[in-house]
Symmetry: C2
Amino acid sequence: MGASIYPDFPPKTTLEQQDYLLSNIKDWSILNGLAIRPSTSLLSTSTDLSGTLAATAPVTLYPSLFPRACFHEARAIQKAYNELYAAIARDQNWLRQIVQQLIEVDDFIASLWNVHLEVEKEGYVQNLSLGLFRSDYMVHTDPANPDSKPTIKQVEFNTIASSFGGLSTKVSQLHSYLNEIAAYPPTSPPTIAYPSFPANPCIESLSHGFSTAHRAYGPSKSSPSLPLCILFIVTVPESNIFDQLALSTPLQTAYEIPTFRLAFSAILDHTTVSSNKHRILNYSPPHSPEMSYEVSLVYFRAGYSPSHYPSSASWDARLHLERSAAIKCPSILTHLAGSKKIQQELATPNSPHLANFLSRTSSADLIDRIRNTFTAIYPLDDTPEGQHAIRLATSAKDSEGYVLKPQREGGGNNVYGSKIPAFLAGLGDDQQRWRSHILMELIKPPTLRNSILRNGEVQSGEVIGELGVYGVCLWRNGHDEAGGKKNGGDADGEVLENWEAGFLLRTKGSESEEGGVAAGFGAVDSPCLVDV
Amino acid sequence: MGASIYPDFPPKTTLEQQDYLLSNIKDWSILNGLAIRPSTSLLSTSTDLSGTLAATAPVTLYPSLFPRACFHEARAIQKAYNELYAAIARDQNWLRQIVQQLIEVDDFIASLWNVHLEVEKEGYVQNLSLGLFRSDYMVHTDPANPDSKPTIKQVEFNTIASSFGGLSTKVSQLHSYLNEIAAYPPTSPPTIAYPSFPANPCIESLSHGFSTAHRAYGPSKSSPSLPLCILFIVTVPESNIFDQLALSTPLQTAYEIPTFRLAFSAILDHTTVSSNKHRILNYSPPHSPEMSYEVSLVYFRAGYSPSHYPSSASWDARLHLERSAAIKCPSILTHLAGSKKIQQELATPNSPHLANFLSRTSSADLIDRIRNTFTAIYPLDDTPEGQHAIRLATSAKDSEGYVLKPQREGGGNNVYGSKIPAFLAGLGDDQQRWRSHILMELIKPPTLRNSILRNGEVQSGEVIGELGVYGVCLWRNGHDEAGGKKNGGDADGEVLENWEAGFLLRTKGSESEEGGVAAGFGAVDSPCLVDV
């Protein structure tokens, strides 16, 4: 935590003010689907009422103050970030070289890569890819330059299952509503003002992204032609289901696209891939087994974690989808592009990669602005940077300023500061296992206060916010539809659609060291922009 | 239950079809606020999570078949019904004569009347009244004429706290959504078709009613002028809160009218009536006690049941609101106009009252259509009709075809068929206590099947549906603002706004004998119109 740069906020409240605020939050949330399925640990099965219960999603009582310039910068560079990751996902050769450093130490990445190799053997039949990205940042104040302006530093870039877009739009609406009905007590000096609450288009913008990919799939390739559909690949049960439904329901109603939820574990039960050259993905819903749909788009809200692959059948299912003609969001190479190792390669000082990927589409200034969001990230390997990092990470004193992260997606396994040396010692002498991690300089966010409503309890105090910016990107890979092996031929590919798609502010208690709301530590928030 | 007049419906489902239907109902309901606060009897306090839990509202899985002509007739006559009850509420002399027959036997009606008398003494200062009515019907098939067309027969006319308008619009949307996503298995012959699902404008139409009354209140009468607000008078806790919020939230957001919930029991704590001639109703919200609002409209969602008046202070509170300048929805006289005794007076064969009230505004044909909705209703008094009714009600055989209802609003105390003689015997010899009831011929609805999701359980079988049609009516009473005593001078009053405002279909198991969803026996439904 750096020093505070913000005005005093939120205001102190009387008991009656807090009651009014809370009852409005609880009521508005349920009225508008800002909800989760309650944790089974909080309810006994007998009171679950067959899955008819819901609870207010964890939210902050107030929007959190956020530097206006940082907010706008994060959104302004998202299209360039989309270009960057679309280019990485198209550059199979570069990806191979990165992945090969990892496959010995990371089974999960090795298995993902194998899926790609399997499909490559027979050739890809779908050359379109949809990216629904989220770039996550924290506000950073330089401890060495306390008078300098705060900047944004990237925490991670998500290429699969970037969640909370649905709830995020609603939290922005909730906080605006609370402000409109004067549920927020006045501040002195006035801090909360309506123009400070940016509208958040996530739901509309992400749904539009799915529908755009669906249209780009084109007409049915089946003969006779079949109705097209979108599949959301999910885990069951899913406490965060209303976040997903906020995106799928507009697809069904506004866009009139049949959209189904399919458990990752049930993929092989209800889908087939046609044996002809088109490799059409067909879906027959269990409730209507006589119907066959042709799947235009597969959206993964599962499959990002090793725990989703309990058996070899799980990997068969992933391969099954990947080799099909359905557009994937994301493709397996796009999924791999989100590995921490990629982030580290880009952020290595004097690395040429960023410029290589972006120089065709972005100005030098824009590339610099992207680079400015990088914090120092090191491999733990035998390069000079790696050896420097190992010295930092094994030092009780130097490790204080760092976080150790696994290459894998999904969060939940980060090791912070002074705990790093003991953790690495626990890995033993096998330096290969060390290489499945990266070392990242800790970002120093300014001190901030807020209150969180979670599981019916209110907790107030110092918090840390993480801003995510969503991006939608649809691109054509370089290979041809006939099954040619040109995937990764980046010179041939092209970005067809690219837009910034709204934002997410997640806030957690500053004593907590993990950022995911789903992981049980934080809340969905919205920014109140301030000039600092 | 009469014979069935409907096609075979709903269709039989496979387990998978039922699962798909149920999961979509549970998900859509929470996503869209079609919810209730779960009953405390189903959840222990420890799992209540401080009021952050909600549950799917009790709904039918399918829309219920409903005769198209009956549906349109019920809606078509609603404006005339609004005129009728607005005229009754303005005719203080006629009301007095009815009420005087009841005050000895019904403390509650006596107390309501006393509130009117108290205000009348000093004169009314508000000559506008808002009615938000709901006329409830059942489909009737004449057992003597099995080939005749079904008709609608009125169950009751509600003049206070006509609930479920908010949830009703949403159930219509839910059933349409389920149909759109093909969650309903096909029927043979096809019964469910989109044009058969009428759109239900309750939320929009009722909210517009409140805003119209708010505007009609005019500018602040305070000096200096105060911001105006609407008060919803409610019970706390309220499991049906999301029904109410569906109406109040648009007032706050679309109409930008400050709208507050105030517990009936807390009226005197937070409101005052100015001591000047205007008798302005002021409200200071507990969360913002330094603010004072001038109340334009008081909407009662509490106060209709004797249980809401545990002490004389409760009656002081009702008087306090009634004598103020705020428009009441409903006024005390409008509340009284909803008594069953009024319904019985209108429905007495050869009664002149209906024509007297309506001849100025409605055609003879329209008056006949209203009269056709009446079923035989008798007093239990010493008139010839009353003596006839007593003979019916005390006969084991004849009582079969009747229901005994208290004059009071709120439901829950009806006595059916063969239970009537014993119930009356239990009242003892005091014929005065008998007079607090009316005897009503039972309506014979055609056999119908549906399934209800309630408290997480699905129950399927024969059901009975009750169609309510909402009406909004704003009228000017005959008295003057200066405090004259002309209330009830019906010749001077006039209806300013009058519209039909959507509908409600409530459905219960046919073995259940009470109609209120709130009372724990039924579900919110929507009609699927059929030509029978």
